[in-house]
Symmetry: C2
Subunit: 250 residues, 2 copies
């Protein structure tokens, strides 16, 4: 008899080669699986709502693992956090998952935010945690270009060549550009995303903000459905997995 535990995970992606286990460097999945092994003696596999690339961060990634040991969720969370130190990974919530619940396959909506700091001065606190762009960005033009991408489209232009998704057609529910002083946040929501989709969309939005592209160039890049038309892929630094939604959750 195993219990499926659902975890909410916060992590600073800077020191990691991404979420998924890799032969050549530390990952978030490996760190948590090793902590589970240390606590339970079991070799559990951790599944997550959306695997992140090297250098990408998580504010509330959802994940699950099946564990045989009888342990209360709160005690498991505390024990994992103690084992995870000093890695910048924290289990911020843990509960028994509902029957049949799967962190990846049950997820009906994913939210990301991409953080841009639009200033000439170099980053201090946020080095590796945001994309610093020195040229003054026209965030209103960026917002107009973002609006073009919302809806159901073939997003081939904004898709990594390594993407394993069956189809390049996705429905983007939200792509919003919000400026507060020197900060520009791009909020993205969809049932699911292609590999590199958010970073590719943000890279092209930045080109629009700089005036290198106009809004029409964005429309044409989307319509072309051709990866070679991608203007710019934004660096991983500014990307955060924010939220995964499941049926029946508030």
């Amino acid at each position: 008899m195993t219990t499926r535990f659902a975890f909410t995970v916060e992590f600073d992606g800077r020191p990691f080669m991404g979420w998924q286990r890799q032969a050549h460097g530390p990952t978030v999945q490996q760190s948590i699986e090793e902590a589970i092994h240390a606590v339970t003696g079991e070799t559990a596999v951790l599944h997550c709502a959306g695997r992140t690339d090297a250098g990408v961060h998580g504010l509330a990634m959802r994940a699950h693992a099946d564990i045989e040991k009888t342990i209360a969720p709160f005690r498991l969370m505390e024990a994992l956090n103690a084992r995870l130190r000093p890695a910048p990974i924290a289990i911020i919530a843990c509960e028994e998952a509902p029957e049949g619940w799967h962190a990846r396959f049950s997820c009906i909506r994913r939210s990301y935010v991409y953080r841009i700091v639009n200033r000439r001065a170099p980053l201090t606190f946020e080095k590796g945690l945001a994309w610093q762009i020195p040229q003054v960005l026209d965030h209103e033009a960026m917002a107009r270009a973002a609006a073009l991408l919302v809806g159901k489209h073939d997003f081939t232009t904004f898709r990594s060549t390594q993407c394993q998704s069956d189809s390049p057609v996705k429905t983007l529910d939200r792509l919003e550009v919000i400026r507060k002083g020197e900060r520009i946040d791009v909020h993205a929501q969809a049932r699911s995303f292609l590999h590199h989709q958010v970073r590719s969309m943000v890279g092209c939005l930045a080109l629009v903000g700089m005036g290198t592209w106009d809004v029409k160039d964005m429309a044409e890049a989307l319509k072309a459905a051709d990866r070679s038309r991608l203007g710019l892929n934004a660096p991983p630094d500014g990307l955060y997995f924010v939220r995964a939604e499941y049926p029946g959750e508030g």
Copy 2:
């Protein structure tokens, strides 16, 4: 002929032994003075609105230096930022100071914020940038205790034994406790503060939040004007110098 340049400085205090030059480790003052020397060939002395301790951060510290070289403020700022890399220090504004202006002596109000993260999970992004307190804090009791400290008092209880101020009597204009979810920010404003005053006040507020002290204990600690009555000095991690105000500035 020298020009007095006024700087606004953002710095992550984690790698530094504080603001002021030290024999035994890197400081913010030393880093900027070395950058000025690299750019101008001059040995200028940097004065600031409020020297910070090791591990304390700055969002907008004000400082000045007198420089002989003829250089536009924008070019000086860019050159200093280029030299400061990769130290987490950024000059975020630079201008010629008005006649007689002094970063320290002309300053009429200083603002600090102290950031507490009130949760059991360890910090990830904010390690060294906030004080994590696992026990649930009663922020309303903290707010009541904070209100007692506002006004003109002898703050001897909340003063480091190394404090060089002539008098322990200070007028505290604001001490406000604001909770947003797991975050509790304590905002402090005064014309000037004693050494360790904000950290000592926050340490005692945390005791009130934990229920170790009640509001009356805070009143008695203040009234005692006795350093041995200090309950707890908060760690430097959560302290940020936020703002310095000068006559005639917006």
